[in-house]
Symmetry: C2
Subunit: 664 residues, 2 copies
Amino acid sequence: MEGVDHLASERSRAQFDVEEMKVVWAGSRHALEVSDRISRLVASDPAFRKDNRTSLSRKELFKNTLRKTAHAWKRITELRLSEEEASRLRFYVDEPAFTDLHWGMFIPAIKGQGTEEQLQKWLPLAYKMQIIGCYAQTELGHGSNVQGLETTATFDPQTDEFIIHSPTLTSSKWWPGGLGKVSTHAVIYARLIIDGKDYGVNGFIVQLRSMDDHLPLPGITVGDIGMKFGSGAYNTMDNGVLRFDHVRIPRDQMLMRVSQVTREGKFVQSNVPRQLVYGTMVYVRQTIVADASCALSRAVCIATRYSAVRRQFGSQNGGVETQVIDYKTQQSRLFPLLASAYAFRFVGEWLKWLYTDVTQRLQANDFSTLPEAHACTAGLKSLTTSATADGIEECRKLCGGHGYLCSSGLPELFAVYVPACTYEGDNIVLLLQVARFLMKTVSQLGSGKKPVGTTAYMGRVDQLMQCHCAVQRAEDWLKPSVILEAFEARSARMSVACAQNLTNFANPEEGFLELSADLTEAAVAHCQLIVVSKFIEKLKQDIPGKGVKEQLEILCNIYALFLLHKHLGDFLKTGCISPKQASLANDQLRSLYSQARPNAIALVDAFDYTDHFLGSVLGRYDGNVYPKLYEEAWKDPLNDSVVPDGYQEYIRPMLKQQLRNARL
Amino acid sequence: MEGVDHLASERSRAQFDVEEMKVVWAGSRHALEVSDRISRLVASDPAFRKDNRTSLSRKELFKNTLRKTAHAWKRITELRLSEEEASRLRFYVDEPAFTDLHWGMFIPAIKGQGTEEQLQKWLPLAYKMQIIGCYAQTELGHGSNVQGLETTATFDPQTDEFIIHSPTLTSSKWWPGGLGKVSTHAVIYARLIIDGKDYGVNGFIVQLRSMDDHLPLPGITVGDIGMKFGSGAYNTMDNGVLRFDHVRIPRDQMLMRVSQVTREGKFVQSNVPRQLVYGTMVYVRQTIVADASCALSRAVCIATRYSAVRRQFGSQNGGVETQVIDYKTQQSRLFPLLASAYAFRFVGEWLKWLYTDVTQRLQANDFSTLPEAHACTAGLKSLTTSATADGIEECRKLCGGHGYLCSSGLPELFAVYVPACTYEGDNIVLLLQVARFLMKTVSQLGSGKKPVGTTAYMGRVDQLMQCHCAVQRAEDWLKPSVILEAFEARSARMSVACAQNLTNFANPEEGFLELSADLTEAAVAHCQLIVVSKFIEKLKQDIPGKGVKEQLEILCNIYALFLLHKHLGDFLKTGCISPKQASLANDQLRSLYSQARPNAIALVDAFDYTDHFLGSVLGRYDGNVYPKLYEEAWKDPLNDSVVPDGYQEYIRPMLKQQLRNARL
């Protein structure tokens, strides 16, 4: 970041303390210190260079990732990094790799589903990376519906083993990251068969490759499933295919914390509650929400900085043109995404708390909040990942043509991010789960059972069905109570309307299917309310630093009023607000954009991202975009020679009218 | 297409004559015959294979495209293809290449802006490809705002030459396709300077490379600008950068149809109307709208077929699972896109007519319809490209995880398509042009000047401000007159509201900037009305074939009611419809989805795309998806060896705890 800061004048306009905002974004002074230190460590290490990633062939790219992963592990051990620091380091290396699955899925699956004995046997090996594991659940023909998996694990009482087998082509394991080329072991999911009876899907630890020469063990066919979206991007990962031909494993490699198979072949349920599985889901989805705020904030940081650098139109008498960030059309697309990044950050923080709370309750055998926590995290996963995927692409478009260049960083960010909408629960399937929970909540309202947590507002449904929005002037829309009531009323009324429409069907399941599009919209309304309300709750806390809270209040209002504008049909249809009030909200939103404008650059600086992590010429901290774009272009392999390879064979014969005789 | 047809039962359910629908889609029997024949010609030629594109390195990919381009040109000349056939052949080769710009921009620019003499000199060379040309307008620092271009063309009366020069880094030509590595010539745009006076931007023909050895001529720096979004995708194209260091060209290489510079250095306007430029814009944007319907229909075809193949959940007692196309959530996302593809096809057809009409009028010195035609094509370019880009990505998500694989064809389709939202006019900038035209139209309503063409409905503004939607039952929403009135009223009321709000500003330009987000929404409403009304007009024509018109009526209603649902806030806010009527529209929409369901596969078959052109394992005509996905995976270069390159250096030392001593 040496040299001139082209954005210095932007930075000097900020009306708040950026250093204090960094603490708010990071979550704590400690978290900021660790993130800042580790991100600089990664940025300053040439081994972690990533700017050439998009022009490498698949093999080069993959080998490059293996090298980085080994280097990262070497640094982690050399520097004796803590678990927190190691995880931050992997994050800032910013390249999908088998280690994500080893640490993020393989180890947690064993921890969550293994017995004490199994933990003692497998975890030390995994922690030292003496074995590398992945998580093999989905199959070629089976994604969302886990109960439809076809792989079988048949108990053989003669040898005290399970026989793992892929009976059909569609039962091939398909997608698991780290499986294709690297993992030595996998947690695989298969139907447990004992004596011809199907006991449903269970987890098993299976060794896949020889520890001597890395060759697949007998009966195992394994490989990579091929190129995925984007150049660079997720192609650093060996998502894999795996088939079993009667592969035998010892009985003690079934994960037996919840269900066991005895030596005699008896299937036994332990007294560990099955609900623990949902606790794990809450954990995983909580991290996905946190990732959403990271990915969205990166894209927003790039688009905001470049919008301040880029000028277009509006020049008077040959003077400089207008910065595009000054256009209301740009602000009305960009600032809601900036606000969303902060909103997702805070709801992610709250989800971390929720996970702790649920875990403590589970340990005390209190399952009362679990369904609500499960629905809530499912919904927030869906909401934040969809908004983030769309938001990254919107940021790319906000950068004009240059956003289409890989050197902008945005194409790769998008391609890496979008699978989040599909993995760990397809976003639409998840919304239907939320809707199902909401319909249950509504149906129980009369029974005296009080809705808890994020559905507590449903307890005031009578009031919410009748309330009238009190807004008379545009400023009234700045009151948190006004915003909350409008969002609560909208959500409650949409849920109630769905519940009423469902009663028109003799068969409730048929009704649910028929009305499922409406039901997902009710679920979205509920989830948006959660995000808005958690943002408002955050602002009730003490937040130090000059102007910091004021800026967050502006962002919170932008987020809420932007949603209100985007989903205006919901609010008007249900009579929560009037057309006149909608128009006042719109006026207020424009005024909020003007308030956010002078602080925009400082608000993205607060993410504290290094230029290495951002990986974008357009998003450079110093705003020195054009010389660097120009420089970057010449690095493309096509520029290795002035006259391109192929000129003699294909271009020249065309120009010289000699194509007729050419062999092509 | 040999072997079993897994979709045969789907096809047998169709309630209309697919062959006749093919004619409707193609536009005529002749067009269908040509398309069908040429697409099969391309598909059966192994030289045009494209399934390995995404795993090639940039250099391999580019050379591969040069080979295909030469082969295509060879076939075109060998087979003596007509202009129509040649253009279809390039279309079905389906790979962005320098020839797109040569035929689509370089030649048209000379045709449109050259004098008779210039046409006679340059066109024969270009038609035979003895020279290859590109179109160099945008610069590193200047995209949308053509008047901001910095490149200069200074007349030197001593030598009767222009001196072409790039005075700054930001004046570097940047983006032109075909420029980086191939073009020998370019039409470049530069500020004309005579005797120190700036006469604005004009076009010039400049030779870039030697015809002997393809090296750049003295004073010219030229290269590729680097990797773009996606693997494969637009990286087959050599988008380029170009700098001039006082390059001299003869005076007669300025394109002089509209403005001339005499031997004495006098700047003279010809009597050819400047408006001709807008005629060209109408032409180019008309082709973009046609391309939108192609791209969207490809994505829809893939997603529809795979939705019929794929099964998930809903199995009773271990039976087969439900086809995902039977889920209402799938239908409510997929069928509106299917309807949009048809809607864009028909509005594109109409735009072709509009271009002919405008051209005839221009030749008769009638400029009266030009502003309306210009606004209309600008708006439709914006509307259809945005909807198509979003629609392709939605189709990808509708295919679940497998849509993320390159073998689904959807990632590349998306990456190739999205720049259409930015090139030839950024979509938001275009909407603002439409809005400006609408505001002018509204302001002139009192003056007795009757609005023409697509704005004719504004002439009935008094009636449209007061009308009440007559819908009482869901079926009422099937009446074209009801739909038209609702869309006209919505658009008129939004425009009038904007115009009224603008009067609150002392400075109208300031008001326009401040309200620009609202203005773009009014422009969208107007453009959607155009698409809906042209679909309705199409259905007034005689359309032969059993059930064909009935299916198109269903699609037309789906398109309109889907838009109504998506933009419900507009309709309710302006009081065009009531909440009750909105709810009835929703009921009707669900019923329309059910009617479309049995015809869905046949409706995408009617696009008549070969498997080669679709380029998607998921979208295969025969529905034999899973075995082919499995087969495709093994072709990835990573699967060349069982143990990956890098195992010895990086994986083994990690597993064996020997990383500490490794050199990485």
